[in-house]
Amino acid sequence: MSIAIANKTVKQTSRAKSLLLWRKITNVGFWSFSLIGLVLIMTPLLWLLYDVIKSAAPNWHFSVLFAQTKGVGGGISNAIVGTLVIILGVGIFGTLVGVSTGIYIAEYARQRVSSILKLASETLAGIPSIVLGYVGYAALVVGLHLGFSLGAALVVLTLMVLPYIAKSTESALARVPTSYREAAFALGMTKTEALLKIILKPALGQIITGIIIALAIALGETAPLLYTAGWSAFYPKLSFSHSPVGYLTYVVWTYYNQPFKSARALSFDSALVLVVMVLFLIIFAKFVNAIFKRTMYEEVQTMSRSISKRVSKRL
């Protein structure tokens, strides 16, 4: 009897042991399989970066950065300056409208209004960039007779990056503790004062990060610009209508399959410059975020000091 039971236990433990072994093996197997997933998403990035550098390096001359495009050769300085002008304009308009939208949604709007505005912003983000480009062409270039111009390009690109900036502003403000607002209102500040002096401060880092990221996105856009900014081999004129602007992504798109070696070289050079600029902006955004996070502690301290100063003044 007892021998039978002992036999059974032995059998059971050995079965449990083999089951445990099997579970351990699946565990290791699963994690190594998942690791392959990570490798698979990193490989294309490294391959692409290697490829961009390898294509541009053999014919790279720094003079390309300082010469204007001539036919299918020359340089890309006009495109670089054009891209920077476009980015600067988008930065100004996008920040103005995007940050305002974010603040309004987070701080002022009632539930229903804010959900409508959020939906509108998300819808805008979901519209394919070529559709925005087409509408820009039909409504601004042809409809309003702006011609291929900086103005049309800025409107379209601003609409494209708006949702990103609005979203990052809104989520940054949502993280600011309610007690800050209560403290500000308790001091008799108006909502505007409370916003500008208290509430925006701790959110500033994230808002600026969002703007930089939005600019990185605007930098790499092609489809919305092709039929709004047009193309120009000269430096951009500071006029909003009837003067086309050159930009880097145009060079990549138009010259990559031309039968001229110089044209293809320009395309590769532009791709390299674009990638460097985008990576720089992304790393810069990280850097800004880190700095703001580090100074946050001091910020909070100075803020509480200024609040207590105000309190003592009123008392």
Binding site: L40, L117, L279, I282
Partner: protein
């Protein structure tokens, strides 16, 4: 008093600026419908169910039928555009989602926090790289590589029946449906991977600890707790990725081979999508003096916008019902 006035002025300024995105969406829809109207009237319902791209004779005098001015011999059917757009995006999702989710699992659970920042930066880099550069890489490097080394292997070894027939036949030069789908898959990885990673990190530790205390291995904890917790969020992110793949323009235009008017015969065949067609055809459409070619492109754009809007709204609805975490807007940066 002036303080109050200032307060009110600030508020009203914000209000006006905040309504701009809403007005923009309405204006965009209105412009599209308005410019597509003649094409919708003339092309009719048939536009959705047959494949043909004959812009007609631009040099002959345009004629009027049904009150719409158009060149003679015109015949537009957008079925190949719709099929191409959806097929391309589906390939991207089928390849991109599993890889991204596995990567997100490793990133959230196994990579030490010290390196997490580095991998986050890599994901952001993928999201930030301009789509023309992806197109350049896809058209000149990845496509030819796949066509030489990978596609023949698949085409020669896949069984010759049913669904698999699409994977047989001539493998082309690397410009085609599968290449475009693979490039798109790489491009939508950041949206899905970064959202999934954030969602997995938000799974409450106590539930996971409970599962661990029962003696489950890491993999079992993952399947019993984490993945159930995040499933709908990951699904939402995947649908959002699908939306982005549907609307992606430049990379697709450079890698698909842009063949107008016919459906692809197998997965290696050249094809085109709505977005790619608009960007590559608008230039030549401007030569149509009756403006009908441009109006047809507007109809295609309207169609594309409808498809992406439905997909996007569906994604947001899906994630709103189950999780408080909002999805990233757009690219997952």
């Amino acid at each position: 008093m002036s303080k109050r006035l200032l307060d009110k002025g600030f508020r009203i300024t914000l209000q006006i600026l905040a309504v701009l995105p809403l007005l923009a969406v309405i204006a965009i829809v209105a412009v599209l419908i308005f410019s597509a109207l003649p094409a919708i009237t003339y092309n009719g319902f048939g536009f959705l169910i047959h494949s043909s791209w004959k812009p007609g004779n631009f040099y002959a005098n345009p004629i009027t039928s049904n009150g719409v001015l158009h060149p003679p011999g015109v015949n537009y059917g957008g079925l190949f555009l719709i099929v191409g757009t959806i097929a391309c995006a589906l390939i991207a999702v089928v390849i991109g989602v599993p890889v991204s989710v596995f990567a997100a699992i490793v990133l959230a659970r196994k990579i030490p926090p010290r390196f997490a920042g580095f991998f986050g930066l890599m994901l952001e880099a993928i999201a930030g790289i301009p789509s023309v550069v992806f197109g350049l890489w896809g058209a000149l490097t990845l496509g030819p590589y796949l066509a030489h080394h990978v596609y023949p292997l698949i085409a020669n070894n896949v069984p010759d029946w049913g669904f698999f027939k699409f994977f047989r036949g001539p493998t082309g030069n690397g410009e085609g449906l599968l290449s475009a789908g693979i490039v798109l898959a790489v491009m939508i990885v950041p949206i899905i991977a970064s959202t999934s990673r954030e969602l997995i990190k938000q799974v409450p530790a106590s539930t996971r600890d409970g599962a661990k205390a029962l003696g489950l291995t890491d993999t079992e904890v993952l399947f019993a707790v984490d993945l159930r917790w995040v499933a709908s969020g990951v699904l939402g992110a995947s649908v959002l990725g699908l939306g982005r793949a549907l609307g992606e323009t430049m990379a697709v235009a450079m890698v698909t081979g842009s063949s107008l008017g016919s459906l692809p015969k197998n997965v290696y065949d050249t094809m085109t999508t709505i977005a790619a067609t608009i960007v590559s055809q608008l230039d030549s459409a401007l030569a149509d003096t009756s403006n009908f070619a441009v109006e047809t492109l507007a109809e295609a754009a309207l169609l594309l916008m409808l498809i992406t809007l439905i997909v996007n709204l569906f994604a947001r609805l899906l994630i709103k019902r189950v999780s408080a975490t909002a999805l990233p807007v757009g690219r997952g940066l």
